[in-house]
């Protein structure tokens, strides 16, 4: 939900973004990104990785520009089996240790949900965007987009618990002489549910 746009004309190259939920609490793991309203955004991909560590994916949320290579190294002493059935990137890395020889190419914008077929509570998200201007909010709900050329941008936000699509929260901002500020107040699904291992689970930790 749009709250406000402050400093729509700002110092060249930067947008400071704050993301909160419907109660005003800061929201972490929100992907914020800026799309130029005219012209094609530059291509600045940089390979990255999502690790299996202590039977969790680290990080939980990753943002990349379309065309980025991502590897999924397994840092655990047990094997993992990463997979995705998301339309934006479908893959399967059956039972492996160490680092896969070939990283995966994420070339289609969209949301990619990654799981482990062995450890059902493991989950990660990759948000693939068509722009190099993206960032992920920290625990304080803040993020900074840097390196933008002067001009008009659509700024959008996505988070795993977001109700509706990122376009519903689109804001327009002009990057100029000073730092621009954008605030989002998101309508998130309640509960903050994120699967995790429960040693007391009645249906067994491993089924």
């Amino acid at each position: 939900m749009l709250l406000f746009i402050a400093g729509a004309t700002a110092r060249a190259g930067e947008i400071a973004i704050t993301v909160t939920d419907q109660r005003g609490a800061p929201v972490a793991d929100a992907v914020v990104y800026a799309m130029p309203r005219s012209g094609k955004p530059p291509q600045r991909t940089q390979a990255t990785s999502i690790a299996h560590k202590n039977q969790q994916f680290v990080p939980y949320v990753t943002a990349v520009q379309a065309g980025t290579l991502i590897n999924l190294p397994n840092l655990d002493p047990v094997k993992h089996h990463a997979y995705s059935i998301s339309p934006a990137k479908s893959f399967e890395l059956p039972l492996y240790s160490g680092t896969p020889e070939k990283p995966l190419l994420f070339d289609k914008p969209g949301i990619v949900s990654i799981g482990c077929n062995i450890h059902d509570w493991m989950r990660a998200y990759v948000y693939v965007v068509d722009t190099p201007f993206f960032a992920i909010t920290e625990a304080d709900g803040r993020a900074q987009l840097r390196g933008l050329a002067a001009g008009a941008y659509d700024v959008e936000v996505w988070q795993p618990r977001l109700k509706g699509g990122p376009s519903a929260n689109k804001q327009q901002v002009t990057v100029g002489g000073a730092s621009a500020k954008v605030a989002f107040a998101l309508d998130l699904r309640s509960g903050g549910f994120r699967p995790q291992v429960n040693p007391a689970a009645s249906n067994g930790t491993y089924r």
Binding site: N54, Q55, V78, K79, H81, Y83, I85, E92, P94, L95, S97, G115, N117, I118, D120, G191, G192, F193, R194, P195, Q196, V197, N198, P199, A200, A201, S202, N203, T205, Y206, R207
Partner: protein, 285 residues
């Protein structure tokens, strides 16, 4: 101690399996300590005969699972199981048991939402303070399950159980089915509800004279488990059980659970009910 050939073979196989280090395996190291209250530990149908008791228990599961294909659709799990229960008042029910459990699970697809089929068998030797109850307990189950929503999982299955003891009084066999629903209330809190139905032999303790039970019993025996003389009756009966639980993860290795069970057993005009409350702490390493 008396032991069956099946028991020895399975226990040895489990030992060898667990000892063997496999690159495809995940270890299972689980400990549980629990306290329970049973409102009708004597399983009596007359109110004046019913006796309640508290028990403290501990359990250890040690084993591992391994993936039998490259995609972990087929998974084999072996655990060595050690259980004990100490009753506060009626010590003849106190026991320690050791055994093994094996299960084979096939998942029809990829990921947590895929349905699965699991066949599981377990056998264990139970040593009671009351030697007559000593014997081999074995069970076999076939379970199907499916996570229908991100937070909601359904399981149902068939269970066969068999107990072979020193006396025909405590020899029991039953068939049953169960349905279980689990709901992840939050990331760390799970709720569960379960219903089960069992058709088979049960042992009910009652103060004599009970000509009605004598007419129905497969066998009976005078016992000194309780303060006053009781007679134990082995009966064919049906048992229905409803259970609700809340299961809380404290850390990724420690959790606690609370559970309530209502057990109702019926044979002709005779029935008895038990309320069981259980609190447990779980450690998984």
């Amino acid at each position: 101690m008396r032991s069956s050939g099946l028991h020895r073979v399975m226990f040895t196989a489990a030992l060898l399996w667990v000892a063997r280090t496999g690159a495809n395996a995940d270890w299972i190291r689980e400990f549980r300590a629990e306290g329970l209250y049973n409102s009708n530990v004597s399983r009596s149908n007359r109110e004046e005969d019913r006796l309640d008791d508290f028990a403290f228990g501990a359990a250890v599961r040690f084993g591992k699972f391994t993936h039998l294909d490259s995609a972990d659709r087929l998974r084999l799990t072996f655990t060595l199981d050690l259980d004990s229960q100490a009753f506060a008042e009626f010590d003849d029910f106190s026991n320690i048991s050791a055994g093994a459990t094996a299960s084979l699970r096939y998942r029809f697809g990829l990921g947590a939402m895929a349905p699965f089929l699991r066949v599981e068998g377990g056998v264990r030797w139970a040593d009671f303070n009351d030697e007559l109850q000593d014997g081999v307990r074995s069970d076999l189950s076939v379970v199907i399950g499916k996570r229908v929503l991100e937070r909601l999982e359904l399981q149902t299955g068939y269970v066969f159980d068999h107990t072979q003891t020193r006396t025909s009084l405590y020899d029991q066999q039953g068939h049953g089915f169960f349905a279980r629903i689990t709901f992840d209330l939050t990331s760390s809190t799970q709720l569960s509800a379960e219903y089960s139905f069992r058709d088979g032999e049960v042992v009910s303790y009652n103060v004599p004279p009970r000509p009605d039970l004598i007419a129905l019993a497969n066998t009976r025996l005078d016992v000194n488990i309780f303060v006053t003389p009781y007679v134990a009756y082995n009966l064919d009966a049906t048992t229905q059980r409803g259970a609700f639980g809340i299961h809380q993860a404290i850390t990724r290795n420690v959790g606690v659970s609370l559970r309530y069970e209502l057990q109702s057993t019926t044979r002709d005009q005779i029935d008895y009910t038990s309320h069981v409350f259980l609190a447990a702490i779980h450690i998984s390493l």
